[in-house]
């Protein structure tokens, strides 16, 4: 349970009407993994509230009754988030399904302040079948570009509806707009929930590491995900030596774009007594101070990637180079 003093993790789902935001939300609510999740829904007209109420019975579901006239953020969204946070039983995290025309980056600013809410990730769902025509609509193209640029992680959804050539064209187009984007290709928004949601566990066990069937140090594993979306692989790393913070950040910043999720509990030389927690969702990277070390300090890191295979030895070498 998130205490009053701990910021509530906030996950923002953005994307156009019909892209698959609600499908992703349903998946998250179906696999809450022990979390009590609060949900704030904006496009209330587009979905069946009762169904969500049943699915999300572990936590509160708030439909945003109205917004401020002058902006899309709306006091109602912020009021709803605070109401959930201040409730007798606050949720462990809140998922906001943004309106189809909203800029999820604006909503995410609530989490960037860090006092009451902490940004976990901005996931933007893209309808592969319609994205290029939507982007060509002069009334909507800027709205779409704002959403794409705000995303930490893109879910390129409905890829079963387009052929390979079309898919490559979309990927080229995305790369031109957001050169450092991180995308997962999927069908029916079927991605492991843990790729999008924060894992609350202070350890790696059952968290991101659980995504791969086997987790060997300095190894990588393949796990073809259901349907025919992206193939996921994981790579893990361990060391008892400490990292230099800026060298570590430089290595993380230079990671190949196939890497879409990561979690690390690390020793940093400038803060050796406490764990340093690395949180990576798409292109969002955050290093924060964790618990004091209880056992012998040991850095452990798991990265999840999609698609094209990766050179594990090169990754190991890169992280080794950031050790002090």
């Amino acid at each position: 349970m998130a205490g009053m003093d701990r910021p509530t993790p906030l996950t923002i789902i953005g994307g156009f009407l019909g892209a698959g935001k609600t499908t992703l939300l349903r998946r998250i609510l179906a696999e809450p993994e022990g979390r009590r999740l609060g949900v704030a829904i904006n496009d209330f007209g587009a979905l069946n509230i009762d169904e969500l109420l049943v699915a999300g019975r572990s936590g509160p579901v708030v439909s945003l009754a109205n917004g401020c006239v002058c902006c899309q953020i709306g006091d109602s969204l912020i009021d709803a988030l605070f109401a959930m946070r201040n409730a007798a039983q606050p949720p462990d995290g809140i998922v906001v399904e943004a309106s189809g025309v909203a800029d999820p980056g604006k909503i995410a600013q609530l989490g960037r302040i860090g006092r009451f809410f902490r940004l976990n990730s901005i996931a933007v769902v893209v309808d592969a079948d319609n994205v290029l025509s939507q982007a060509a609509d002069p009334l909507l193209s800027d709205t779409m570009l704002r959403q794409l640029r705000a995303a930490d992680l893109l879910l390129l959804n409905k890829i079963d509806l387009v052929d390979d050539n079309a898919l490559r064209a979309i990927e080229r187009w995305l790369a031109a707009i957001v050169p450092d984007h991180r995308a997962i290709k999927c069908v029916n928004a079927a991605v492991p929930v843990r790729l999008v949601l924060d894992d609350q566990s202070p350890s790696l066990d059952g968290g991101v590491a659980g995504l791969a069937a086997h987790d060997h140090a300095d190894s990588h594993e393949h796990a073809r995900h259901q349907h025919h979306g992206d193939v996921f692989w994981s790579w893990s790393y361990q060391s008892t030596r400490s990292f230099g913070r800026s060298a570590l950040l430089a290595v993380v910043a230079a990671l190949p774009s196939q890497i879409i999720r990561g979690k690390g509990i690390l020793i940093c030389s400038d803060q050796p007594a406490r764990q340093t927690v690395l949180h990576l969702v798409g292109r969002r990277v955050e290093l924060s101070a964790g618990e004091p070390w209880h056992e012998a300090p040991s850095s452990r890191l798991v990265l999840i990637g999609v698609g094209q295979d990766i050179d594990g030895a090169a990754l190991t070498q890169a992280f080794n180079s950031a050790l002090r």
């Binding site: 009407l17 904006n42 496009d43 209330f44 007209g45 439909s63 945003l64 009754a65 109205n66 917004g67 401020c68 006239v69 002058c70 902006c71 899309q72 953020i73 709306g74 006091d75 912020i78 009021d79 605070f82 309106s99 189809g100 025309v101 909203a102 800029d103 604006k106 909503i107 600013q109 609530l110 960037r112 302040i113 860090g114 006092r115 009451f116 009334l139 909507l140 800027d142 709205t143």
Partner: protein
């Protein structure tokens, strides 16, 4: 038969071209029964002459076609506006003309508050008038270092706060969010500009300017302010679809002491609109002094915050604004509510937005023709001649915020629109020439409630800094008065009941100390309201200095 009261005045402007001026008006059972010379009106049966308005000027009661009940609620907090402003109790609160005066006023208010740590809230701060000096966090810390202080700007799009608020909200110069203003030394000045940081600040200290806007006191204040400014019909154009609020409105407005009629447009959840099945429930609360039943929609933001959907880029290069409702969703809603027979009031500020709304209404009309729908585009400051023509041809009305030229004209010239476009905004003379049904409004509390101010703005087009902005778009006094009475009444589908002084209409009057048609137009806003008459009942406008 009930007695007929004959009110006499120095002059009655009826706005009835068949009898534009008169010396007396006869009232029976709340309705106008005659207009003309005193002798003509007293020749019949039981009549009584009421000369309490002798020497005064009578106009039709003003119709404020776009306001919000929140305009009454702010008065619970400290007023720190630059201009003198009329409060609901009839006193004129002095403007604070220097930053020092603002601080003094806050310090006085702070001293009078119990030592309970509750936030000190103030409103209507307008730093644009204080050249060479912004308020700083140090200024406010000098007022209190223990009590949170939150000052809302007149624009309602920025705040100034003290360090107590910054600390509790977790806002500092290194916080990675938009809207935290920092000084040259990289220190937060306490000015907060974006919705997110503003609302975080509100929540962090329990400051709530919106709270209880439609409470008992809020609604009463709303009525009192209407009376004091000559308004006999006022609108709450963003009412929640709530039977609880509707019942409160019904009860308060039905009180014979409540001095105004209220027309409410119902908003639903955004981006979805009101629930059609429940609209009938809302209609049931209507009575003589309360009209429910129209629907409010919104498609974009507004120009000062760069959120309006413009056809051409902003003057200073800021990207285009935002859709508050997805265009496809707006199309669906317009079609649905139109088909169901409701009148729509649609907020559309940018010209891209107003153009799209016209397109959607044209489609809805083609699918379901309906004469006299009177859907009204609200604000629409950038509509041009072609859009006005299209509105006219579709039977669409437009309602423009004439005060915008005064209060925001300088910002539009310098930042948002540039001089050329700013000069064409709120093109009221063009609307008149084209022949579209138009009205003017205040959008209070966005600009102060006051029909004489709205008329003055439409006639003079003077910005706060004194620019004459687009002189070709100035309205004549007669056209501006019409827009503020019959023009507004038409947009509310009430022109058969109110808006002019004609036998058979309701006896709703604005009684003024001076004749708007006789004064120098630059003095129009200074004409004092002496009283209003609502359904024949007199409500003195008890203002005192």
């Amino acid at each position: 038969m009930t007695e007929t009261t004959v009110f006499t005045a120095a002059k009655i402007h009826t706005l009835d071209p068949a009898r534009p001026g008169a010396a007396a008006v006869a009232v029976q059972d709340g309705l106008i029964v005659g207009v003309g010379a005193v002798d003509d009106l007293t020749s019949g049966g039981s009549t009584r002459i009421d000369d309490r308005f002798a020497g005064k000027i009578i106009l039709p009661g003003f119709v404020e076609g776009h306001a919000h009940v929140t305009t009454g609620g702010n008065w619970q907090h400290v007023y720190v506006g630059y201009h003198d402003r009329l409060a609901p109790d009839g006193t004129v609160r002095k403007g604070a003309r220097t930053l020092g005066e603002v601080i003094d006023r806050l310090r006085d208010a702070e001293r009078s508050m119990p030592d309970d740590g509750r936030p000190l809230l103030a409103w209507a701060f307008d730093p644009i008038f204080f050249e060479g000096g912004r308020m700083t966090v140090a200024d406010l810390d000098a007022v209190s270092r223990s009590r949170p202080i939150v000052i809302n700007h007149q624009s309602a799009h920025a705040l100034n706060v003290n360090s107590v608020v910054l600390e509790r909200a977790g806002l500092g110069p290194s916080t990675e969010v938009d809207g935290i203003v920092v000084d040259d030394g990289g220190k937060a000045t306490g000015e907060l500009r974006e919705a997110v940081v503003m609302h975080i600040a509100f929540h962090a200290v329990g400051a709530d300017f919106q709270k209880d806007a439609s409470s008992e006191i809020g609604i009463w204040n709303f009525g009192r302010l209407a009376n004091l400014t000559g308004v006999t019909t006022i609108t709450d154009l963003y009412l929640a679809q709530s039977t609880e609020t509707a019942e409160r409105y019904r009860r308060i407005t039905a009180d014979p002491q409540f001095p105004a009629r209220v027309v409410a447009a119902i908003r639903g959840p955004r981006p979805a609109g009101p629930d059609l099945a429940r609209m009938a429930e809302m209609l049931a609360y209507s009575h003589d002094k309360l009209r429910m039943g129209s629907i409010k929609l919104s498609v974009d933001g507004e120009i000062p915050t760069y959120t309006a959907r413009l056809k051409q880029p902003h003057h200073d290069g800021t990207p285009n604004g935002v859709w508050t409702t997805h265009p496809e969703e707006a199309r669906r809603q317009i079609r649905m509510y139109h088909k169901a027979g409701y009148q729509l009031h649609i907020h559309a500020v940018g010209d891209e937005a107003s153009g799209l709304v016209l397109e959607f209404i044209a489609e809805a009309l083609a699918a379901a023709p309906r004469p006299d729908h009177r859907h009204t585009i609200q604000h629409c400051p950038l509509m041009d001649e072609a859009q006005f023509r299209s509105a006219r041809d579709l039977g669409v009305c437009v309602n423009l915020l004439s005060n915008h030229v005064h209060f925001y004209g300088d910002i539009h010239v310098e930042r948002t629109l540039g001089p050329a476009r700013a000069a064409r905004m709120n093109a009221l003379a063009t609307a008149k020439r084209v022949g579209v049904n138009f009205a003017i409004h205040s959008d209070s509390p966005v600009t102060p409630l006051g029909p004489m101010l709205s008329i003055w703005s439409a006639v003079n087009r003077r910005t706060a800094k004194g620019r004459l902005l687009g002189p070709e778009e100035r309205l004549s006094v007669a056209d501006a008065v019409h827009a503020m009475t019959l023009g507004s009444a038409y947009t509310l589908k009430l022109d058969h009941e109110i808006g002019s002084i004609v036998p058979g209409k309701r006896a709703d009057f604005a009684v003024l100390d001076q004749d708007p048609f006789a004064v120098d137009p630059i003095d129009l806003k200074d004409i004092a309201v002496h009283a209003t008459v609502l359904g024949g009942r007199c409500f003195e406008a008890r203002t005192r200095p």
